[in-house]
Assembly symmetry: C2
């Protein structure tokens, strides 16, 4: 049972999106665990000082993400992490705002990227249009411009996300491009954990540049390999425990 003490904060007269983010935060951070009962609507109304309507909208958003399950008469209970819809854009936003992201989530999202992203780059090298390329390049330039200024870290993250997302889009496959949604939480977690050493940053930028170049030159194999190198750098920065899963047996990534 989630106790009244643990109710999240929100600015007065917050809109439904803000309320949803606040409530989602308490679940994603683990303060409300699977099976816990969420306070009833009227209590939430009173706590946040908003109408029941807004609370219901916020809870409907959480319900659509698989974070909670609501049934008339019983109440609202928190769902297990395996029920969460990780690919909902709302989830992406909320996850990327956590100060201490779910370690299991970070690891498993990264395991996915490690397996999938080289292949996505391969697709992008085959299918990217000039416009796709322009967007990848623009994001890359943004990364370079903001790399060495700690005050622009947030902008740097945005460009980093945009870079990888543009590659997912350039695959021109409706399914793979959806997976770009996962990038933001993964990249934010990376930046938070990494050491911001200048030599590492420059090395990372150079690896990104090679991906861009390979896609531009329509070289799928080179794009795959370059992406593997980007992710290898990311893996060491994340200090991932355990062995990374191999997409192809027998291929070793040398960081």
């Amino acid at each position: 049972m989630s106790d009244r003490q643990s109710l999240p904060h929100a600015p007065a007269n917050a809109d439904a999106a803000t309320l949803a983010a606040a409530l989602a935060h308490t679940i994603l951070s683990g303060r409300w665990a699977c099976g816990d009962t969420v306070p009833r609507e009227l209590d939430l109304c009173e706590h946040f000082g908003v109408s029941r309507n807004r609370i219901r909208n916020a809870l409907a958003t959480l319900s659509a993400c698989g974070l909670i399950e609501r049934t008339a008469g019983r109440g609202t209970v928190v769902c297990d992490i395996s029920e969460w819809h990780l690919l909902d854009p709302n989830m992406s936003l909320w996850l990327s705002r956590l100060e201490t992201p779910h370690p299991r989530l970070v690891n498993e999202v990264f395991a996915f990227r490690l397996a999938a992203e080289p292949y996505v780059s391969e697709l992008a090298a085959r299918a990217a249009t000039a416009l796709d390329l322009a967007q990848i390049e623009s994001a890359f330039n943004g990364m370079c411009d903001t790399a060495h200024d700690p005050a622009q870290r947030s902008a740097h993250i945005d460009h980093d996300v945009a870079f990888h997302d543009a590659i997912y889009r350039a695959s021109h496959n409706l399914v793979w491009r959806q997976m770009g949604i996962l990038l933001r939480p993964s990249i934010v977690a990376l930046i938070q954990r990494s050491h911001h050493r200048v030599d590492r940053l420059d090395d990372s930028l150079e690896r990104h540049r090679r991906v861009l170049e390979a896609i531009r030159m329509r070289q799928p194999d080179a794009a795959r390999e370059a992406t593997e190198h980007v992710l290898a750098r990311t893996a060491t920065d994340l200090e991932l425990s355990g062995r990374p899963p191999e997409l192809r047996p027998g291929v070793n990534i040398t960081p």
Copy 2:
């Protein structure tokens, strides 16, 4: 502009889920195209004979799936297919109910499966627990029992979906298991298009059996190969146009 004639049907006093399905159907089937304006709430209320509340709930569901965009003052417009959240469970259900599914969607979902599913089986062969295995086997037995009875086609589809979904789950990766959501529309489209010849069915079942066996025996490579063979059979049944994308360059699938 979507014209009043083209409004979908729904049983009297339909609940919000039914209304959402009916409205989604008209979009997914292409009768309302990108950029069209959806009738305003009050007209929908009158047409379906329900309260504004239900209409708003139904539209909120569609909005959460990226099918429509609503803005106060302007109205509700249909979004482009690239905006749709294909991995929302609602979308999976709605898509699988279309009599003539979006051809682009079928092709691209299948392209994804062709690239990803062998790798997922590999993961499953490494990570599957006894319980996972039991669920895969149970689904397989269900497929066998219902294979040769046209009256049980619906049950057969359910078992087919359950078989592949159980493998995605057995990967024990939170991201890959989400992709199991895509299976139902893909498999329904397959069954609709295939020719239901007894020899093909038996062959398909045998290929499924080999996947199950490889996962049981913890043989990742065999599981990958067996899954490639299942998908190759599926590809010929789907009569896919164009070359299937290769996950690994240089590996050819021989149906």
